[in-house]
Amino acid sequence: MSGKRERTVKLNVINEPKDSYSGGKSSLCPGCGHDQISSVIISAAWENGVEPHKIAKMSGIGCSSKTPAYYLGQSHGFNTVHGRMPSVTTGAYAVNKDLLYIGVSGDGDSASIGIGQLIHAIRRNMDMVYIVENNGVYGLTKGQYSATADIGSKKKKGAINETQPIDLCALAINLGCTFVARSFSGSKKQLKALLKAAMSHKGFALIDVISPCVTFNNNDESMKSYGYVKENEVTLHMTDYIPHFNPISEVEVPEGHFKDITLHDGSTIRLETISEEHDPTSAMQALGALHDAETNAKHVTGLLYFDNTKASLVEDLGLVDLPLIDVTDNDLRPSKEMLEKINSAFLN
């Protein structure tokens, strides 16, 4: 044994190096919050031990929707049209329910042009992770306000926003979304735990991530700037994720109050109380927390709402166990005898 340790590549639970989850070089502005989210997606997928090729990365149009090129290079993806990623994902899911669908969208994509599709994907409890990279402005068209811009906030150029914002988390909770979280691209630990939990959830998991736009909306008067969010973030709880392949009994029990939520694949999200306990199964508490934050010009982050009692889209579709793309052509086409039966039934 030599005293010098060889540098070994760290592998995850399915023996993949982290490199298997990386993507191309980002072309976003240096410091963009979206790049931090991309790196969290890579870490979360790797640490969760998801097979890279079993992931489908979906997006719409905008700065955020370009990011699938920057992560999970071994996964197929679809950069669709503006605001319509949910429907494309739904169609893909209908024929191949065995993939993990990770959608990335922006506040323009989700809160304006695509709000209808977002709403209906939530309504169907479509089984996917839906990340909104929320910066309050349209970046690719050079800094117009989006529908999530806070009242009283001012972007780098132009007037103060006076229009009521749409809070996607409040909207989702009202729609009965089964997993609703808010996070901040600067809070990578929390974001990673939430993202891993979302991957383990069966149903629609919305994570609204405040992700500052360094070019058009990172000035002091902006309520979605790094500085503002850091100072005004209200964290609901400390968030920890314990994957199903790590026995929970071996995880250190926190000193204070905490709440464990078991997810669909047997993993756990652990919510440690900071000051007041938040019950994520209570829509009223979740909406209350959002309302308080809005009133006080704060941003509340954490797992706002969770419901594992609802059937997801796949149960509603009533399909065979096999993903439809794996059903043989022979099984897809009814027999000749069947057509003869139909013809003679019409005749009689």
Partner: protein, 595 residues
């Protein structure tokens, strides 16, 4: 007075939501069961209850399926259109009218048969009188024309499948209608029906149901749809058939159905299914196709298999939602912004509705491009005689999809949009396969599927896409030619015009004009189309719209020296095409050519 046998048109004026549809279908079915060539057209309003509806039944020994050029027998039930209907009667028309309507029937120049329809209906069941009124006129007509009782009874049974009380009620009402006529009226018109020997046993089916069955035999794996007249019954027929033919013993289906939030989402789901390797489709009408434009362009540019059925109605805008038109030929062929061109199939019969239903999937997967089926309200929602659907005579064509790692590894270089075979059709791998994953995009891309704005990449891509679609011409269903030898005049037509063309042809022939017929069945146009135009002095492009959409497309695509040979006859008033209108327009255009 000489009898007119099996050659006349009945027009029934009722209000919708009063059960008139089932009465009319019983009438139609009973004539059909007697072996009489008959067709029915339902002219219904965009409304659920109370607005006027007309049902036109054409009996024709020549097998003409279009509505006749005049009404021979008018049934008057609807007070709302009473005066209008009476005013439109030509002298000598037979009028079977409800004498309990409290409205006047003041025409002296018609053959009048008053029937106390409401009174008879009340005598059976006062609560259901409104519904029964309609079936009473069927009884009166049966007596008037000589419709066989056994044919009527069998039609009633078919209509009310197993609902004994409804069968009894209707049979009873028909008998009372018959009885009233027999005892109180004397026949004084020439119209009679005569049973004909049935050579080939046929059944009635709507085009929409035929497409639905075709799609299910084509292995459709996902239907996403948003309700819209006149295509809803296509999706609903699929939903009704899936449990019977695409579901296992545990009640699990292998075709998903999702009712979308709008047509945009419906199109998005079709693309998602195609992208993932499945056979996805939607059914819609013109307004839906308008909304789907953006996705259609994406499917073309990113080369995603996707099937869209457009059951056309009258445009533009909301238009006449319950009337028929070949409205969307251009919209489908050139859909979405930028330079695009799409494959469009035009079934002309219910047999073809079935065939193109399954074939569309093979074509879309083979060419990796959206494929449209264009039907219309007339073909889709009316019942047409069918000799039976033919089982697909070839195995499914799943196109150039690489599912096997060994085959994939044999590629020296793999690029999603690399033209390996020189036929413009690249290979694809599927999400989940782990083979050559790429981020599909609607932005410019190079043969490797990577974002590119380079002029060379864009030019090559657009050129290849054009060549790819162009190469489909002679693979798509070829035109059906009915040519007279050395005929100077040719007619190119498409789709549901098939049901009127023979009558048009006969009307022209009666004036001494012989024409050749060419039914185009797909776009881009088959090479035979050009040859057909070449062979004839003048070719008329006949279609059911205002602008001559197909004419415009052909004019653009045929060699310039052939263009002067091409003439357009395009007409649409919302009604199913009537032979005489088109024949007259053709004669008019030809006079103009002679000058």
């Amino acid at each position: 007075m000489e009898n007119i046998v099996n050659d006349f048109t009945i027009n029934v004026a009722t209000a919708n939501g009063t059960g008139s549809q089932s009465a009319n279908l019983i009438l139609l079915q009973s004539l059909f069961e007697m072996g009489i060539p008959v067709s029915g057209k339902n002219l219904f309003p965009s409304n659920i209850s109370g607005l006027p509806t007309w049902y036109i039944i054409r009996l024709s020994e020549n097998g003409y399926q279009a509505p006749g050029n005049r009404t021979d027998i008018q049934v008057l039930v609807n007070p709302a259109t009473w005066e209008e209907d009476i005013a439109a009667l030509e002298p000598g028309t037979v009028v079977v009218w409800n004498e309990n309507s409290k409205l006047e029937m003041n025409r002296e120049d018609v053959v009048s048969y008053p029937i106390p329809m409401t009174k008879i209906a009340r005598s059976i069941n006062p609560k259901l009188a409104k519904l029964i009124t309609n079936i009473v006129y069927v009884g009166a007509l049966a007596e008037l024309l000589g419709i066989k009782q056994s044919a009527l009874e069998s039609a009633i049974k078919a209509q009310f499948k197993g609902k004994e009380s409804a069968i009894e009620l209707n049979t009873n009402a028909i008998e009372l209608g018959r009885e009233h006529f027999r005892e109180n009226l004397t026949k004084k018109d020439p119209y009679v029906v005569k049973e004909r020997e049935i050579e080939v046993k046929q059944f009635f089916v709507e085009g929409n149901e035929a497409v639905a069955l075709g799609c299910l035999f084509g292995g459709a794996q996902m239907l996403s749809w948003y309700p819209i007249t006149p295509s809803s019954s296509l999706a609903e027929a699929m939903i009704a058939w899936i449990p019977k033919i695409r579901t296992n013993d545990d009640g699990e289906a292998n075709c998903a159905v999702i009712q979308a939030e709008d047509e945009l989402a419906a199109a998005g789901m079709v693309l998602g299914a195609g992208w993932a390797g499945g056979r996805g489709m939607t059914a819609t009408s013109g307004p839906g196709i308008s909304l789907m434009q953006e996705f259609i362009g994406l499917a073309y540019f990113a080369e995603i298999p996707s099937v869209f059925w457009d059951v056309c109605r009258v445009g533009p805008s909301t238009g006449l939602p319950t009337r028929t038109q070949q409205s969307d030929i251009t919209l489908l062929y050139e859909g979405s912004h930028g330079d695009t061109q799409h494959i469009v199939l035009f079934p002309g019969t219910v047999e073809e509705c079935f065939e193109f239903g399954w074939r569309a999937f093979d074509i879309t997967e083979r060419f990796q491009t959206p494929v449209f089926g264009m039907s219309d309200l007339d073909l889709g929602m009316n019942r047409w005689a069918c000799s039976g659907f033919e089982y697909p005579n070839e195995v499914m064509d799943r196109g150039k999809v690489i599912r096997d790692k060994d085959i994939f590894d044999a590629f020296e270089e793999f690029g999603r949009y690399l033209d390996v075979d020189g036929d413009g059709i690249p290979y694809r791998t599927l999400p989940g396969s782990g083979m050559a994953p790429i981020l599909y995009r609607g932005t410019g891309h190079n043969p490797m599927g990577v974002y590119s704005e380079k002029p060379h990449d864009y030019l090559q891509l657009m050129k290849r896409l054009r060549e790819k679609i162009d190469s489909s011409r002679d693979v798509l269903p070829a035109p059906i030619l009915r040519e007279e030898s050395e005929c100077e005049i040719g007619i190119i037509y498409l789709g549901s015009m098939e049901n009127t063309i023979q009558e048009i042809d006969d009307l022209l022939e009666a004036t001494g004009l012989k024409v050749s017929q060419c039914r185009l069945r797909a776009l881009p146009a088959h090479s035979e189309i050009e040859k057909f135009i070449e062979r004839h002095e003048t070719t008329i492009v006949l279609e059911i719209n205002r602008d001559g959409q197909l004419y415009g497309i052909l004019r653009k695509e045929i060699p310039i020296d052939l263009v002067p040979k091409l003439r357009s006859v395009a007409y649409s008033d919302g009604m199913p095409p009537r032979g005489k209108i088109y024949a007259d327009l053709i004669l008019e255009i030809l006079q103009d050519v002679e000058k």
